[in-house]
């Protein structure tokens, strides 16, 4: 069988079910960049950059894929062939996080565990002096924009588009990351155009609101001036 001609799903199923080394060789050739990228990224967030450790973790991922194939086959739904990439990503991320969590737990003592990686903990520790006044101001702005988005958009995709908008502006996700998120159902271009469209609407709304506010201020100050003059 020419494994190079198989689709990613068929190739993965061939590896997990039959386990021929020719199938695995093709699988490694195709999926190694994806698996390695995730290993490299997560390991670096845990402070590990040694090529030897990275190689070991990549190899461990493949061996666990093979060892846990029954569970993977059970979970994978061939009706959604693209999800094979998702499963492999999740599997790899879990292998790497489990490895480092286990190491850290051993170092800290078995009773101390955490669900957050050091990357997030650092954020938590280093930015603890926030300006509450600014936070309140921006919280009001968020509510104002969210209300506008909820009322201004009435299309069937309005809710999804509003979430895309916030995933970009609140969470800081790129269009590609949003497109990769389950349930979004758009490609990167579609996400970009949604963000662009809503951004223009929101900016127009904010500008109009600022204009109204400015005019009201001018009006009030004019009235005040006239009142003062009358005395």
């Amino acid at each position: 069988m020419d494994y190079a001609e198989l689709s990613p799903v068929d190739l993965t199923l061939a590896c997990l079910r039959d386990g021929q080394h020719e199938a695995w060789a093709e699988f490694i050739r195709r999926f190694n960049p994806l698996i390695a990228a995730i290993v490299i990224r997560i390991a670096r967030k845990w402070g590990e950059t040694s090529p030897q450790v990275l190689d070991d973790l990549i190899q461990e991922t493949y061996l666990k894929l093979c060892a846990e194939r029954a569970s993977l086959l059970r979970r994978f739904d061939p009706a959604y062939p693209k999800s094979i990439y998702g499963y492999i990503k999740i599997f790899t991320a879990n292998v790497v996080h489990d490895h480092f969590r286990s190491l850290h737990t051993k170092k800290r003592g078995a009773q101390v565990t955490t669900n957050l990686s050091p990357a997030l903990e650092n954020v938590v520790e280093s930015r603890s002096s926030s300006s509450s006044a600014r936070s309140i101001e921006l919280s009001i702005l968020f509510d104002q924009i969210d209300r506008f988005l909820r009322s201004a958009e009435i299309s069937p995709t309005a809710e999804r588009d509003r979430r895309i908008f916030w995933l970009h502006y609140r969470i800081g996700l790129t269009s590609a990351a949003i497109a990769a998120t389950a349930g979004v159902g758009l490609n990167t271009k579609g996400v970009e155009s949604t963000i662009l469209r809503l951004t223009r609407r929101v900016r127009s709304h904010l500008t109009a609101a600022a204009l109204v506010e400015k005019r009201a201020l001018n009006h009030r100050s004019g009235e005040g001036k006239r009142a003062a003059d009358s005395y």
Partner: protein, 384 residues
């Protein structure tokens, strides 16, 4: 421009600045508009407001990070990190994708956490990551080939229900040592296969099956062959030379290793060809007792029961076979031979709906080829 009054309007500003970074460099605006802006204070103010709105939007992400900095534990509504990982990888498992996305966009803990996870799960490699990847041992074809052989080996061992020792296959040596290990590993695999072929009579049994296929059930490792006789009528067929050879090989090997479960299982299979179902059940059960977690042995024992059920018209044997096949599939859901056999047993038990599901499931995992055609024939018959 609002042509009536000669001023810019908000919509026109949106059109003008859509392609520019916010705040946009005004020199990139059309000359007529630049000219108007230089003369009209009202429009300059409007432009300033529009640009401020862009800054405000960008600042919303900052507040997310700032609020995240206050120690915020997970609330009961916060999804598990694993669910966020599945979401970022594009896998919908929770059935609550919309609710979780809504939560992420408003939760000061889950928002930043999701951003981090999303970055981790990206399929795109940065230039720096590409460079690191290129320097890894497993980027080299020779190391990949060695790993592929290790995986095949692990697969074979796991199929026999031996646990794969954690990190057993790690190659912690330098490139030179890795290459040496590759050669040794390949030699070992070749040796194991070679010795297995000569000590294991399964190849002869497979040949016998191909020559005369006396029953509709399948063993692991047998090629497809058309069914030659009716159910359970194995004794009517002349003994194939390969079967004789298999029996001889099994006998010789068992005299040296009487407790070898693989040989006991092979003996049980050989007995099925001669319709010695009680003996086959005894030998296959003996093999299974020595390796109780083997999905392959469970399936083989089930065949013996089912064929005795055919011969003696005993529903209890079919029930026993069905139970054994269910256990085999529980241990290894990817064992499609057990699934094939289970569909046949379900048919015999009159469990038409179960048989239909089994055949459909089988065809989902093996959609093409002779076995698939046979499965499809069964399925068509059920549907009719």
């Amino acid at each position: 421009m609002n042509r009536d009054q000669g001023h810019l309007d908000i919509e026109a500003l949106g059109d003008l600045l859509a392609g520019l970074p916010s705040p946009g460099p005004q020199k990139l605006l059309p000359q007529a508009i630049q000219q108007h802006l230089s003369e009209c204070e009202a429009c300059r103010k409007l432009l300033e407001m529009y640009e401020n709105s862009g800054r405000d939007l960008q600042s919303l992400q900052v507040v997310e990070t700032l609020v995240a900095s206050s120690q915020c534990p997970a609330s009961p509504q916060c999804p598990d990190e694993q669910i966020l990982r599945e979401l970022a990888a594009g896998v919908e498992n929770s059935g609550q994708t919309d609710e979780i996305l809504e939560h992420i966009t408003s939760c000061t803990r889950c928002g930043p956490l999701y951003r981090r996870i999303s970055e981790e799960m990206s399929s795109d490699l940065s230039a720096e990551e590409e460079q690191i990847l290129a320097g890894l041992r497993l980027s080299k074809p020779s190391a990949q080939a060695a790993l592929a052989h290790s995986l095949e080996d692990a697969h074979l061992r796991a199929s026999e229900d031996r646990p794969v020792p954690r990190n057993a296959n790690r190659l912690r040596t330098s490139l030179a040592a890795a290459l040496a290990a590759t050669l040794v590993l390949c030699a070992v695999i070749v040796w194991i296969r070679h010795s297995q072929q000569h000590a294991n009579p399964d190849a002869d049994l497979a040949a016998a099956y191909a020559e005369q296929r006396p029953f509709d059930f399948r063993f692991a490792g047998v090629p497809y062959a058309p069914l030659r006789t009716e159910r359970g009528a194995g004794s009517a067929a002349p003994k194939a030379p390969s079967l004789l050879q298999a029996e001889l090989g099994i006998k010789q090997a068992l005299s040296a290793s009487p407790d070898d479960p693989v040989l006991l299982d092979a003996k049980g299979k050989a007995e099925l060809f001669e319709a010695q179902f009680d003996a086959a059940i005894a030998d296959s059960a003996s093999a299974l007792s020595r390796r109780p977690g083997s999905s392959v042995f469970l399936s083989d024992l089930a065949i013996a029961y089912a064929l005795r059920g055919d011969e003696q018209n005993q529903t209890s044997d079919y029930t026993k076979a069905d139970d054994l096949l269910g256990r085999a599939l529980q241990i290894d859901p990817s064992n499609r031979i057990a699934l094939f056999n289970k569909a046949l047993v379900d048919e015999r038990l009159g469990l038409i709906e179960a048989a239909r599901k089994d055949w459909e499931q089988y065809l989902a995992s093996d959609p093409a080829g002779d076995w698939a055609k046979e499965a499809r024939d069964h399925l068509d018959q059920i549907r009719r």
